[in-house]
């Protein structure tokens, strides 16, 4: 049996809202090996951030863990006390937030901010280490930046500082929520290269959250496709790209390809994903699916194992062998 770095089983999360509870994450299973780079792909609002933050219990008080387990290095995290959690956060599992510029403390100089992380986890407070880390994320004038406030830096620089803060303690897992969404294409590649480099050098596993196929394609070993609070498909990157199993993944790859191949004739996916309030016991993608079957609307499709891949679609049940070939 493989010894996973992190293993999430059947995680369900709800939010308390005015008119009762709304389940946003409806059962996630995710396993990451040491040194692996895994991507979570999905449209906006499908529950990527909530799933990822729940690993570190970073949601606000309105979040409720309905069920599920999270094992980190074999240890169950959901049972931990707040202070035990504090020892893991930043130190063993680091989190890079979606909007880096606002996630840095405005009244603290960069140097002090990074020093704070070291101090929190009782690591030697060396300026040297901070400068080296800053340089490793591509900050050229580390000495100068050390004495600057976040508002004096550009969005891209702040993004790198955020990453520096994430990696400075040498965590086993880095969760990066859209680390490249606020930077230009050229810089995006630099940052991704950098993350790859760190992964290669230190064996730090990365969980990369994005809605950008390109990013996933460039960096990830494995990909998880989410839709409507569920995982729709999971598998090695190259295979999912070349041979998507789920109609949703297929539609996504089609969209992506159409942008790069013939700019004039874009393929678009009609309709919008369901909001958590609209979730029913049916395949969430069914209303938009062109291969829809009657059973899709009757029950929640099960996760099917297809070779070393997984897919949540009724088409892979025994009764529809013919349709699969149409895909």
């Amino acid at each position: 049996m493989v010894d996973y770095l992190i293993e999430i089983n059947g995680l369900k999360i709800s939010f308390k809202q005015k008119n009762g509870f709304v389940q946003v994450v409806r059962g996630i299973d995710l396993k990451i090996k040491r040194g692996e780079i895994v991507g979570i792909l999905g449209e906006s609002g499908c529950g990527k951030t909530v799933s990822a933050t729940s690993i570190l219990r970073l949601e606000d008080e309105s979040a409720i863990y309905d069920s599920g387990q999270i094992f980190f290095k074999g240890k169950e995290l959901t049972d931990l006390s707040e202070s035990e959690y504090q020892k893991i956060r930043g130190n063993q599992i680091a989190y890079i937030f979606q909007n880096a510029s606002t996630a840095l403390i405005p009244h603290k100089k960069i140097g002090k901010q990074l020093m704070g992380v070291l101090k929190r986890h009782d690591l030697p407070r060396s300026k040297e280490k901070i400068l080296v880390t800053l340089e490793s994320v591509g900050i050229t004038e580390a000495e100068t930046v050390y004495e600057m406030y976040p508002f004096q830096l550009s969005g891209g620089q702040n993004q790198r500082i955020m990453i520096a803060q994430g990696i400075i303690c040498g965590p086993d897992l880095l969760i990066a929520d859209e680390p490249t969404s606020s930077v230009d294409v050229a810089l995006r590649k630099v940052i991704l290269d950098m993350l790859k480099e760190i992964n290669r050098k230190t064996g730090m596993a990365i969980l990369m959250i994005t809605h950008d196929f390109e990013v996933i394609n460039y960096i990830c070993d494995r990909v998880v496709v989410m839709y409507g609070g569920l995982i729709m498909e999971e598998g090695p990157m190259a295979e999912v790209m070349s041979n998507p199993l789920h109609p949703y993944t297929k539609a996504l790859t089609y969209c992506a390809q159409s942008i790069y191949q013939n700019g004039s004739d874009l393929f678009t996916l009609s309709g919008a994903p369901p909001t958590p309030a609209e979730f029913k016991l049916e395949c969430p993608f069914a209303p938009r699916c062109s291969f829809k079957r009657s059973t899709c609307m009757l029950e929640m499709p099960m996760m099917m194992e297809v070779d070393d891949r997984k897919v949540r679609c009724v088409l892979y049940r025994e009764e529809y062998p013919d349709v699969r070939s149409d895909l």
């Binding site: 970073l58 956060r89 930043g90 130190n91 606002t102 009244h107 992380v117 406030y149």
Partner: protein, 730 residues
């Protein structure tokens, strides 16, 4: 063109000026705040005009005076320190409560949140002013000493005001906690406490500092409003006039302070508007200054704030310094016993010992830089013609079956006598109408017993005269009011023309009356005194060009009979030296060492007050310490009855001494006084009345009591006196 931050600039100027005034009031004031002048004489076009306070603003009184004759300008200048300090303290304590609670509440503690919100609702539903008026008007708060008065003000106003701050902080903390960077801090593993201290507080800091200055302004406004309602620090709750059956309060403070000025003078609004206007103006300008400064800081913005922390830090540090200076302004005032070699065993009036000691004191004054007050020198002698020392005295009461021997200077004491040896019956004249005295011959060959307490000094003198001329009485027995010790060491002589006068105590009188047919045998032998009485008088000139003329008189004794008395003398010498060493001697200090303080009639003060060598107008207070007779004692005798409120310097000194005595835990026994002609009079102690009644100088009297119960050392008094004199004289 550079754009200036006008509010900040103006605010800084106002605050800087306030700061300078607080630190160095004497650079600004042209008079002492304790100066009081009821009447003044003005020459105008050759015409002499007498004016009564309040005076209009002119070159002497820059902003005029109030009805007590206090200079508004100087009082305001000196009042700045206390007033602004109060404002700062109230704001500070509000923050000390509101910030931590606001933080805890903001982090989601529901109990704290509810407390803050409820308090805020309560105190905004009922105006803070109203609560403060009701609470601070309780008798409990009136007439407290300085420290407690300030403390209670700060406590009450803080309690009334903190919740408003608390809600503000709470809301801001909640707001800050929803900011993304807080989640960032959680993600790197920080705990709530360190997030509160390292993130929320620094993030709040600029707003808090702005708020702090605004809050000082608000506190000052509240103080001003309270002042109008006669509530201010150190309101003594005095009643100036109750003649119409309705008590009229005299709202006055012992310390210069703006709110008290508003209050004291509020009735003068129409007749002397300057007395109210200027203190109110001072309030307005300060409130404006603090508000402008706060607003200016706000305008500078948060980013500038972070990059220019040091200036703000410096400024806050400065205010902290002032608070500290004000709160811990303690000096060491210790007075020990002076080392004096070869003192006589005892010093007594009319003997060589007294003459020698007087010379010693004069020399000591000279070396201390104290100047003689009279051209002839430090020593001012006075006549002791009709005075003698008793060398023998006895009294015995014989009935049919026994003889009771009475103890001299306890049961009885001669007040006046020649050498006598008489035996006679006693005539009880207590129930007689002595004013008419129908049958004086009934007194013939008898001792006449008279109750002293029913008659005035004058009446007694005239009775004795009548008895002497109209009868052949053997003597007069005066029943003293006190039932314990009565003593007198010298007597007046009558050159054979006068009958003896003997004071007896209550117990002795009872013995006399209960044995109806007893005979009394009285003997006395006297020896006339060889020398004059010697008062030693010197002045330490005041350093202040305006108030240097004003003087404090310190009356000390130098006669003694035993070791304890000798220690008191050494203490007195040292007290004089210590007063000379005070840095605040802006007024003159006149030291008078009085001779004959152990006697009833030859007490040097009587001779001195007949022709005191200094203008009585300039004498601010007479501090009578001749009552200090033992170096260790159990109780302190004290009276400030002759230091009325209208003589503010004396009165406030008396207040300070009394406060210090109480604070030091000394038991005070108040001298009993009789109220006649609008002033107090001490029937049992003629000497204590001399300065006040002969020269109109307000007097504070202190003495020692209960030498058997020797818990207290006179050194302690020294510290109290020095501190009070120094404080009152700044």
């Amino acid at each position: 063109m550079k754009k200036y931050n006008m509010p900040l600039l103006l605010g800084s100027v106002v605050l800087l000026i306030l700061l300078l005034i607080m630190l160095f009031p004497d650079l600004f004031a042209n008079q002492s705040p304790y100066n009081i002048q009821h009447l003044r004489f003005v020459h105008e076009n050759g015409v002499l005009d007498i004016q009564r306070a309040p005076f209009k603003p002119d070159e002497d009184y820059w902003l005029g005076s109030d009805h007590l004759g206090r200079d508004i300008y100087s009082y305001m200048i000196y009042g700045t320190r206390l007033t602004i300090t109060l404002g700062l303290l109230i704001a500070l304590f509000e923050f000390i409560i509101a910030v931590p609670l606001g933080l805890i509440g903001g982090f989601g503690n529901n109990v704290v949140k509810i407390v803050i919100e409820k308090c805020n609702t309560l105190f905004s539903a009922i105006p803070a002013l109203l609560i403060a008026i009701i609470v601070l008007n309780l008798d409990f708060f009136a007439g407290q000493d300085k420290f407690y008065s300030i403390a209670s003000f700060v406590v009450v106003l803080t309690l009334v005001g903190w919740a408003r701050m608390g809600v503000l902080v709470l809301e801001r903390v909640k707001g800050i906690l929803t900011m993304p960077f807080i989640k960032g801090e959680v993600a790197i593993g920080k705990s709530n406490v360190s997030i509160a201290i390292e993130n929320v507080l620094p993030h709040l800091a600029p707003e808090l500092i702005v708020l702090f200055f605004m809050e000082v302004a608000r506190s000052l406004t509240l103080l001003m409003q309270l002042g109008i309602f006669a509530i201010f620090v150190g309101n003594l709750g005095l009643i100036s006039d109750a003649s119409a059956g309705v008590p009229i309060n005299l709202d006055i403070s012992f310390e210069p302070e703006w709110a008290s000025m508003l209050s004291t003078s509020r009735a003068l609004l129409t007749t002397a508007p300057w007395a109210v206007l200027y203190p109110a103006l001072a309030f307005f300008i300060s409130v404006l200054g603090f508000n402008l400064f706060g607003e200016g800081l706000r305008l500078r913005g948060r980013e500038r704030f972070f990059s220019q922390k040091t200036t703000i830090k410096g400024l806050l540090g400065f205010f902290a310094l002032i608070l500290i200076l004000n709160l811990f302004n303690h000096k060491d005032y210790s007075v020990g016993y002076a080392e004096i070699p070869s003192l006589p065993q005892s010093v007594f009036i009319g003997t060589e010992s007294s003459q020698k000691t007087a010379h010693f004191i004069a020399e000591r004054m000279h070396t201390l830089g104290i100047m003689p007050l009279e051209d002839s020198g430090y020593i001012i002698p006075y006549d002791l013609d009709q005075t003698a020392m008793l060398t023998h005295q006895s009294m015995a009461l014989s009935t049919k079956n026994q003889t009771i021997i009475l103890e001299p200077n306890i049961d009885f004491a001669f007040l006046s006598t020649d050498d006598i040896s008489e035996t006679a019956q006693i005539y009880d004249a207590r129930k007689l109408d002595l004013f008419t005295m129908h049958a004086p011959h009934e007194f013939d060959q008898k001792f006449v017993l008279i109750e002293k307490k029913y008659y005035s000094e004058h009446a007694l003198a005239s009775f004795i005269k009548k008895i002497e001329t109209n009868s052949a009485a053997k003597g007069v027995l005066l029943v003293s009011e006190s039932d314990t010790q009565i003593a007198n060491l010298t007597v007046q002589t009558g050159d054979g023309n006068r009958i003896p006068i003997i004071e007896i105590n209550q117990k002795t009188a009872e013995k006399f009356i209960s044995n109806e047919n007893a005979v009394l045998t009285v003997e006395a032998k006297t020896e006339s005194l060889q020398y004059d009485g010697f008062n030693v008088v010197g002045i330490l000139p005041g350093s202040d060009p305006y108030i240097g003329e004003e003087a404090i008189v310190v009356g000390l004794g130098y006669n003694y009979l035993n070791q304890s008395g000798e220690d008191v003398f050494k203490f007195n010498i040292n007290l004089m030296e210590a007063i000379c060493g005070l840095s605040e001697n802006r007024r003159s200090v006149i030291f008078v060492f009085l001779d004959g303080t152990l006697t009833k009639w030859q007490h040097g003060i009587h001779a001195l007050t007949e022709d005191f060598p200094y203008s009585s107008q300039d004498l601010q207070v007479y501090l009578d310490l001749t009552g200090l007779k033992q170096a260790s004692f159990g109780k302190i005798e004290f009276s400030a009855d002759q230091a009325p409120i209208t003589r503010q310097f004396a009165w406030s000194l008396a207040r300070q001494v009394e406060d210090q005595l109480v604070k030091s835990g000394l038991e005070i026994s108040y001298l009993s006084a009789i109220f006649t002609d609008g002033s107090y009079f001490f029937p049992e102690h003629q000497a204590y009345n001399a300065m006040f009644w002969n020269r109109g100088v307000p007097s504070i009297i202190m003495g020692t009591l209960d030498p058997e119960d020797t818990a207290i050392d006179v050194e302690m008094l020294g510290r109290i006196l020095l501190k009070s004199i120094s404080d009152n004289n700044y």
